[in-house]
């Protein structure tokens, strides 16, 4: 029967696809597995055929197929939320599916030092990295920001591969994420680099994330800072010379390197700072020629960034505080995690917001905790993502302090914790 099913699946896949949406399935290999990618893909394709209809993201960690259970840690579909809009489910055997097989690197961050300065100029991770695994999924945004960034990177590569004349159509490979603190800009940059490396594993042999330590590029010697910036970028050029290496450069708090030159001229800043900005701008222009590079930058103070840099950014994405919908998802993931480890016991099914909507927010025994969580989410509006992820911990620390708690008790404490947070913020402001 299974063989017949597989045959039907193969036939279905051979037929032309009506859908244009592409579903990305990521296959995480065990670190010690040396099984060929083609064999894994073949087996996973069969597995997907068996799971005919999907309604959203999923992760499989147990497999009947012995080859898969020996070699694979997980098979997961991600970012399907904005593709499965009609909520009816999707038959993957009838859809365009791309399989990405990858292994995680668990090496710690390496540091890049200037030979003569003996200061760490950058931290580096080999991608896909175990340090960033799961971060992409943990980020919740109302808009399709993540998909937009992935699509941007894909277009960048397409244009480079097709050798589009950059004198006619210009793109700079620079992304600027800006917004208030704690909204996940830096995490999003790291997670994006990690995700790109997985999605583009057929195009690039491996990837590297280089996080520049902006402060270390300022020298104690006058006029040397500009030279340090140039040297740093020269190192990056060396990496980018390998066409099979995807290099993602992260400049966190970019305003420290690209402070508006206009304000420098007022006399508050030495002219060395202007040299740094000039060096960064010219070096970013030079990165354009490398098809395997992407510059990811973040800033809290958009107004302080030099306009010439802002102009160079292809995407200037605002990352704001989460809305109640996103807050609900964040809380839901936190509570599920606490149920997984047994801190919230007994485990209880909490419904997704979509399910609550379908049930028209009707209150009964099954929906009560979820509705209570929704109320807390609405009350939490205005708090940053970082604070929200901290609140379940604070709720436990401040109001529970026992090894286990029921869902009802935890939700009550979480609500108290939110009130406390707002109270603390008000006190600080006063």
């Amino acid at each position: 029967m299974a063989v017949m099913m597989n045959g039907v699946c193969e036939l279905a896949q051979a037929l032309p696809c009506a859908e244009t949406a592409v579903y990305h399935i990521e296959v995480l290999k065990k670190p010690l597995s040396v099984l060929g990618e083609s064999v894994i893909k073949e087996r996973v394709a069969q597995l997907i055929c068996e799971h005919k209809c999907v309604y959203g993201d999923f992760t499989l960690t147990e497999f009947d197929d012995q080859v898969l259970s020996d070699n694979i840690l997980s098979v997961s579909l991600s970012d399907s939320e904005h593709l499965i809009l009609d909520r009816k489910g999707v038959d993957l055997s009838q859809s365009r599916v791309e399989l990405h097989v990858y292994t995680l690197n668990d090496d710690d961050a390496g540091t890049e030092e200037m030979d003569e300065e003996q200061v760490s100029m950058a931290s580096q991770w080999m991608l896909p990295s175990a340090h960033f695994h799961g971060q992409w999924e943990s980020l919740v945004f109302d808009e399709a920001i993540k998909e937009r960034l992935l699509n941007y990177a894909t277009t960048t590569l397409l244009f480079s591969d097709k050798k589009v004349n950059s004198a006619i159509i210009s793109w700079n490979r620079v992304i600027l994420l800006h917004g208030p603190p704690g909204t996940g800009k830096t995490t999003l940059c790291k997670a994006l680099a990690h995700k790109l490396c997985i999605r583009l594993s057929e195009r690039f042999n491996c990837g590297q994330l280089v996080e520049i330590n902006s402060h270390s590029l300022f020298s104690k010697w006058f006029s040397e800072s500009g030279k340090l910036v140039t040297k740093m970028f020269q190192r990056l050029h060396d990496y980018m010379d390998d066409p099979e290496l995807l290099v993602c450069v992260l400049i966190d708090e970019v305003e420290s390197l690209t402070a508006a030159r206009k304000s420098c001229l007022n006399g508050n800043e030495p002219s060395d700072a202007i040299r740094v900005v000039n060096a960064v701008l010219t070096q970013i222009d030079q990165l354009k020629k490398f098809p395997n590079c992407l510059v990811l930058t973040t800033s809290n103070i958009t107004g302080a960034i030099d306009l010439a840099f802002v102009d160079r950014a292809d995407i200037k994405q605002y990352i704001g505080p989460p809305t109640p919908t996103a807050i609900y998802k964040i809380y839901l993931s936190c509570l599920n995690e606490l149920m997984r480890v047994g801190i919230i016991s007994p485990a209880q099914q909490l419904l997704e917001l979509r399910a609550l909507e379908v049930m028209r927010f009707m209150e009964n025994a099954a929906t009560r905790p979820s509705l209570q969580l929704r109320e807390i989410a609405i009350k939490s509006q205005g708090l940053s993502g970082r604070t929200l992820r901290k609140l379940p911990f604070m709720a436990h620390a401040m109001f529970i302090q026992g090894p286990t708690a029921t869902v009802d008790l935890f939700l009550h404490c979480l609500s108290q914790s939110v009130d406390q947070q707002f109270q603390d913020q008000a006190n600080l402001a006063a």
Binding site: G36, S38, E42, D107, G110, N205
Partner: protein, 321 residues
């Protein structure tokens, strides 16, 4: 930027046993750590000093070193412990898998962007050859390393990470090592190749281009049809007698798009002493398509392509006083 590449040959008066190979690699690592400023003293001296220092502390536990000295003490202890672990892993790896052909030591922030790479090429295993003793092989190695300043010729280097990868057969399970199927020898930075050559009898060589036996190559199919040689496919068999490198390249030039080949020993044929085709078949992956313009690509290369790189999970972090 393509790095500076240099080659140095080390000739030994005989074969090298598996344990000797591992020990020689360990010695190169020790020397490299010191010469490239990753440790302040020679490894053995550092270890000896640490033992003395530990004994002193044990005797007088109350007399704790100053904070700065304590940090250096901890770093030294850490490096020594990691290096011991690395050496043990190498010895175990060679014990389990004597077919290891290459070892690559990389100094840099990550294995894909090293500042310096040292590739050690090992000779083929030759059970018939008279083996050189560990002591005399170490002496020969050090004479060469010191006299010709092989490891100290490059520009100064600050403390960084030291990675080790070994090229071993695909199916090897090396404890303490993780397979890196996509790893390639980096071309970035300074690259030094140390060729360890044994003056051993030629009949022991595993070069199959010298083999006159009949070999059957079967299961060849273009990559477009299947990325993996399917056992159930009808076999496209070609019989080759006396396969010279030219002949082999000519034969394989028709299968440029093919990524995998199945090579099977013809029943009853003698494959020669050095051949390492385990069991009935062995899967072989090509890194580059074989064409007529690459006459040096012979049978030996096809067999060696089955090797992949295994990275040692212990990373050494250099330090200075």
């Amino acid at each position: 930027m393509a790095g500076c590449t240099k080659q140095v040959d080390f000739v030994f008066d005989g074969g090298l046993q598996s344990h000797t190979r591992a020990s020689l690699i360990n010695e190169v690592i020790k020397q490299l750590m010191y010469q490239r400023n990753q440790i302040p003293l020679q490894f053995d001296i550092l270890k000896q000093q640490m033992t003395v220092s530990e004994a002193k502390h044990a005797q007088n536990a109350a007399a704790r070193p100053l904070n700065g000295l304590n940090q250096t003490h901890n770093k030294t202890k850490n490096v020594i412990s990691n290096l011991d672990q690395l050496f043990e892993n190498i010895l175990k790896a060679f014990e389990i898998c004597p077919e290891i052909q290459q070892a690559l030591i990389m100094l840099g922030s990550t294995p894909v962007t090293p500042k310096e790479s040292y590739l050690i090429r090992l000779p083929h295993i030759c059970p018939e050859a008279e083996n050189v003793s560990l002591k005399s092989s170490k002496q020969a190695l050090f004479r060469h390393l010191i006299a010709e300043e092989v490891l100290s010729g490059n520009a100064s280097l600050g403390p960084t990470n030291v990675y080790l990868v070994l090229s071993a057969p695909h199916s090897s399970a090396l404890p303490g090592f993780v397979p890196k199927t996509t790893f390639k020898v980096p071309s970035r930075g300074y690259c030094l190749t140390l060729n360890m050559i044994c003056s051993q009898p030629s009949f022991c060589a595993q070069d199959l281009t010298m083999d006159d036996t009949e070999v059957e190559i079967s299961g060849v199919e273009p990559f477009e049809r299947s990325s993996f040689a399917d056992i159930s496919l009808p076999e496209v068999a070609c019989h080759i007698k006396s396969p010279s490198p030219d002949k082999m390249a000519r034969l394989l030039s028709g299968f440029d798009a093919c990524r995998y080949l199945r090579v099977r020993q013809a029943s009853g044929s003698d494959m020669g002493e050095g051949l390492k085709l385990e069991g009935e078949m062995e899967k072989i992956q090509f890194n580059t398509p074989l064409t007529r313009s690459t006459p040096k690509v012979g049978y030996t290369r096809l067999v060696t392509c089955d090797h992949i790189w295994f990275q040692c999970s212990t990373v050494i972090k250099g330090y200075r006083f």
